[in-house]
Amino acid sequence: MPDLLVLDRRLIARGVERSSTMRFVFWLAPWVALLALGIYAAALCFYYGLNQTHMDNRFAFGMWIYLDLGMIAMGAGTFFTGFLVYILKQEDLKPILNSAVVVGLICYSGAVAVLMVDVGQPLRAWFTFWHPNTHSMLTEVTFCITCYLFVLILEYLPVLLRNRQLRKVPSFLVFEYQLHKLVPVLAGVGAFLSFFHQGSLGGLYGVLRGRPFAFRQGFAIWPSTFFLFILSAIAVGPSFLMLVTAMAETLTGRRLVQPSVFRKLGSISGVLLGAYVAAKALDTLVWLNITSPALGFAPWDYYAYKPFGWALLFAEIVPLGLLPAFLLILPLTARKRSWALCGAALGCGGVLLNRFVLTVQTLALPTLAFDDFLRYIPSWQEVATFAGVIAYGVIVYSLSYRYLPLFGQAKGGDKNVSVG
């Protein structure tokens, strides 16, 4: 145990004060337990097959796909801030960058991990690379996400190598220095990849001609959802970073970034969210009046089934779209931290709802005239697997915050409570 204490101290950068080892361990313990449970659930799925879940032939995609889409949308803040900082030279966002990289890494690695459990034959996953069907949105997603995960790891490496012990190795330190100089390239690649896979995730459902609730027209090979997803992702990405940072600040009881950074993220989020809502509304109108009827599906039919009524559509556009946009744009509210955060939360909620509608409601709705509305409740294995991913995220972020310079070298001691 003393060794652990010593090790812990030695890993924390000099002059940076973090909570006591014990406190940190107590903070981590429940998350580690949750992670263990998640790993157990995933192991069950690997060993016995997907009959462990409550998915079925009609509800072929379940909770996992929904949460993957959600997580990746939230992870969009990473590539976007990287893009802003390195390509558009918005230097004042730099302080948030390292934290953003960690968030992105968590979201993407988590999503990929869940996907591996979700497929029936994980050992054949590489077939997608070997015999790719380039017409499939899923191929695009798979390729981009895998590549981008590598990019994220590379972007994370410099942050990792700045750890107090690792930097003692001269070659690491120099490599970190050299790699850091090349990060703009990675940021560019990351932006390119993210642009495509965020879009393809939207396309995933937009191309489903057989599911008129999700099917959309578009340009060239891409349905409108392709572009809506990109827009919505970069709109809430910064919001999510705000939320994460704010959470870290409350937990550590310390100002980690300047309010100006918050405001900047907020305004970017707000403007993009506004644009997204406008586009979304337009798209919905086109779909309701042209696309869906043309396929022989009366739009009101979709909303005839409780609990998925019109309210869902309204909620997605107004209280969870328009409202947060205003909260984040209007100076009156944008300047107030609490209002801004509230707006960010609503915005994220809206996009999560959008992903839910597209993944779950699409499958629940009947297609054939003699079909019924379907219900599906995830099994504990599904829930546990996902909870494990959340726990994994918290653990990685806590460790990174404790041992790595996430927000520059914020020297000086923590105030009251302090974890991470």
Binding site: F129, W130, H131, C147, V185
Partner: protein, 270 residues
């Protein structure tokens, strides 16, 4: 994936998709490779140690980056932005000319006026045969006392200033001592000898960057003050009472203290 793999089509979509993919992969790989290659070349051209030092220096708290002339009281306030390397400091000559306004009072540790001091708590003495002897200064000596083990460089190996010259272990703490100058190891001493290395300096010999005279007292008093602050606990030993001489073998005396931080500060680790 490749033309010879089942499922490959010579269709535009397929070609565009795959070429984009390969382009991305190549970009990522070339990024890694070039980073590695640059790192390697930095080591080949002996810039690595210098870079490491400068990266570390950048991370030091400002209080530890005070200019030697401020220590000597020649200027009221100046922070070094040259990684303590006065050899390439444009203002060195001009500032060095100013008179030192810093009476050398007793700072609690002894130091010799005919030794040159490095900020990493090593002293340098030039011998008649042109070699330079390097030892650990009394401040460090008081703290560490007798190290449990010393890992010295082999004969004829090169040392680079601010690179790690030798390592010592004490009560489970690794102490990495920075080399004061560039040179070649002629012979090695140790704790008992009172000195650690004899170096043949790389020509041309330039010791301008090492502290001397008034600077030393100013610097050491600063070090002692910091030590006091770090140990400013209720049960602080009298040895640290203002002006009192520094008690020898402090690490043995106070094993519970946060030596990790203390040593890092003393031996210029970020």
């Amino acid at each position: 994936m490749f033309p010879w793999v089942d499922g490959f089509h010579w269709s535009p979509g397929h070609i565009i998709f795959l070429s984009l993919f390969f382009a991305v992969v190549l970009t990522i790989l070339s990024t890694i490779v070039s980073a590695v290659w640059r790192t390697a070349s930095d080591f080949r051209t002996h810039r690595a140690t210098e870079m490491c030092w400068r990266l570390n220096f950048a991370e030091l708290p400002e209080a530890e980056r005070r200019c030697r002339h401020q220590l000597a009281g020649r200027v009221p306030h100046r922070t070094c932005d040259n990684a303590f390397d006065c050899r390439h400091c444009p203002k060195y000559a001009e500032l060095a000319a100013l008179p030192a306004r810093n009476p050398s009072w007793n700072v609690g540790v002894n130091f010799s006026n005919n030794l040159l001091y490095h900020r990493g708590h090593t002293w340098v003495r030039s011998e008649d045969d042109g070699t330079l002897t390097v030892g650990l200064d009394e401040f460090a000596h008081h703290l560490i006392g007798h190290p449990d083990s010393v890992q010295l460089p082999v004969k004829d190996s090169k040392t680079e200033s601010n690179g790690i010259a030798w390592r010592m272990m004490k009560n489970g703490h690794e102490i990495r001592v920075r080399a004061p100058i560039d040179g070649t190891v002629v012979s090695t001493g140790g704790d008992k000898h009172g000195w650690y290395l004899k170096l043949r300096p790389r020509d041309p010999v330039d010791l301008r960057h090492l502290l001397r005279g008034a600077e030393v007292s100013g610097w050491l008093s600063g070090e002692v003050d910091r030590l006091r602050q770090q140990f400013s606990t209720p049960n602080a030993p009298h040895c640290l009472a203002l002006g009192g001489p520094l008690m020898p073998e402090l690490m043995d005396a106070m094993p519970a203290a946060d030596w990790d931080t203390v040593l890092a500060a003393i031996f210029l680790e970020a």
